[in-house]
Subunit: 482 residues, 2 copies
Amino acid sequence: MLFIIDRNADTSAQNQLREQIIAAILNGQLPAGTKMPSTRKLAKNLSLSRTTVVLVYEKLVENDFLIALNRSGFMVSDAAVSHLPMAVKLSPVRTSIDWKARTDALLSHQRNIVKPANWQDFPYPFVYGQPDASLFPLPAWRECSRQAMSQSAMRDWASDAVTADDPELIEEIRTKLLPKRGIYAGAEEILITMGAQNGLYLIASALMKGGVRVGIENPGYPDARNIFEFCGAALLPLEIDGEGVVVGDALKSAQMVYVTPSHQYPTTVTLSEERRAKLLDAASSRDLLVIEDDFESDTNYTGESVPALKSQDGEGRVIYVGSLSKSMFPGLRLGYIVASAGLIRELRALRRLIVRHAPSNNQRTTALFIAQGYHDAYIRKLHNAYGERWEKMRAGLDNHLPGMTTVPSFGGTSFWIRGPEELDAELLATRALKEGVVLEPGAVHFMQAEEGRRFFRLGFSSIATNRIDEGITRLARLLDLR
Amino acid sequence: MLFIIDRNADTSAQNQLREQIIAAILNGQLPAGTKMPSTRKLAKNLSLSRTTVVLVYEKLVENDFLIALNRSGFMVSDAAVSHLPMAVKLSPVRTSIDWKARTDALLSHQRNIVKPANWQDFPYPFVYGQPDASLFPLPAWRECSRQAMSQSAMRDWASDAVTADDPELIEEIRTKLLPKRGIYAGAEEILITMGAQNGLYLIASALMKGGVRVGIENPGYPDARNIFEFCGAALLPLEIDGEGVVVGDALKSAQMVYVTPSHQYPTTVTLSEERRAKLLDAASSRDLLVIEDDFESDTNYTGESVPALKSQDGEGRVIYVGSLSKSMFPGLRLGYIVASAGLIRELRALRRLIVRHAPSNNQRTTALFIAQGYHDAYIRKLHNAYGERWEKMRAGLDNHLPGMTTVPSFGGTSFWIRGPEELDAELLATRALKEGVVLEPGAVHFMQAEEGRRFFRLGFSSIATNRIDEGITRLARLLDLR
């Protein structure tokens, strides 16, 4: 019986050995009744301390995988395999069904942002929306997670909450996060979502069925476009200029409108005071519903931070979508919707059908992370790190790609670049990879890909500050600007 | 400045104090520049050790909430509040929008299972689907969670996986869980979902739009009925008898069929060999797709466990939905779909729009929980505990409610009871609560509520074994059977 212990592995030798013995039992290589090698012998073979092996065996006895024979070692128990049904052989699948034809055609044909899966292996990754893991306060998260797993806390979150959210997380969002955006909401006006993306899906699925006309920024967020389309909306492209989304005739026939006022996606321009007022007036006079995606809530590196559009919403027309992906980590999949209690009620009923609720343990851990000030400290840390990179980016772009940054940008985590007339950004991206530079072609952000051919985006949340200038220099070289 | 330390609270005095100081700073009760009380004074007031207070202050300095003044105590820093925008007062909402009229009417009008929120406070809770927290191996879960939060593991799960699942979890499901159901699948045939419920939603949303005709067990799972209806399916009720779902004319016009072969929901009857063969033949000859909801995969307390229908699927027509809610805890919201790679691809694209993916940290923790044998041990523990309760239930029902258990039940975590002709189970449930007994009226499981008036369900996953007999006795008394 051969076991291999990898000393460089992340899990202890003890865990490795336990896992391998269990696998051997479950896969039938160690059938019930098999006598296990003596702890002394096995310890010697694997050059482990005998105690380690003893501990592993004892744990396996606890778990009914082994039986301890008095004074004569250990044996594989039959309890371990009693639950395995007779293996059933599958006859190879005979007919193959045309799934594409049976499923919604949109699914496999939508255009999405794609980055090279191995973007982390490139020296100059100007990718967007991926966190810099080195900045995340992992020990703090561990500590909060530990607290959330206490016996009594567990009682709160083990069972199926059906439609309920963790009241502690709601309270933290309500009293600590929303006030920083100028929003003062009641608990009944907040719904926890599986990230901002899930928030958009819930809103679209509840409100856009059957061709509801939705104004959407163009260029804009491709996932929003895809979600709204899938949910049955008819999309009206809205132009973007230096003050953000243009509030004009294109909006006349709309019933809903989707905007990213804090930093327009992908151009990063902040919606001006005048435009905000104009948009809210239009909403009020034309009975419009406004979806505010505050995905990059507070990333202004120069001057005051601008409160959310929702903070000026006197009629309950603004449906606010918030995210914890940027301020925690994207893999956590947590976000929230703030809207009138009446809408939240409907969205809660819909969420019940789709996911019931976000995982309770993560809700509680995040609540503690906010309550104990770690979230706030992390935001400030990010803000400083990104602010520094933003300055470097701006300087680098002014020096090496003069006149190509399109809008007066003063925040966000990326720059939106308009290349020369004849540029094909897709081609540029391919050639850039060879130089170790990862950038994102802009076409996918436009409803008509062709309009976006010359645009590309440079994100700076993942690239080291001291790599920025060289990365941009290499780009300039590819663009034959030097 | 008043802080209150609750010695019986679950969080340490240190955490409580830190939280309260942060709250006071963020809520403006401790404005920037405020001098904090000396550690000696505060420790005395709260009768805490001075070290505790010092530790709290130092942590708050680390997090930029306080500034340490050399030799003269601590002061509230302005960094802490620098991110608060000027408070914006909301004018009270003027118009109120009719959200019910704007959202899908189905949402707020669907019939759902409702249990008293405080069911845990009743001595005889015959509720269904809630775990017995006292049986869950919390220390094991903590250990796996700790391992999943190691620096290197974190790198795997912090970033947005977009459409990918944790390969380690897929591998554990593929090699350890599915073989126990007789299923041998490739990694490309498995999709991780936010619980079985989310699995059903993904399938329905991808395959049932525009009135696809779906056969559904009646009585059956109300959530499935609600999801399919919401996604646009036309439902065909299928009768249930002692062998499970009846494969007859009702199925003739169906394009898809939803079944719970392992233990029919809610009757717990297991689908017979003959019926399985008949169903798969019908599927093959009529080009039917079969959704197998294996929600209670392996809860037979007498005799062999029956492999999944999917294990006999030679044509890739069976779409298998598995759940980890029962075998981990429902609050975790994890499940999986096993189907042809072609369908999994489409469902993955759809999941991207809805939630992207299940939280990565929970995927990794669960993978470790399975890999290290804790899952298997827990299943056996549950199996023994539930088996014991099941025997007690059967004995109690035979003694006190003779002839009311409808089908030859030999598993599951509940009993399905047909009361006397004239019984109104809703009324019974209300009266039972006064006796401390919680039961679930059956009407909600029927497409026509009236058909189910006399039925009710007694779950036994949450009630203590020694309470079962008395609980049933009280029920019998209410039914005037003694």
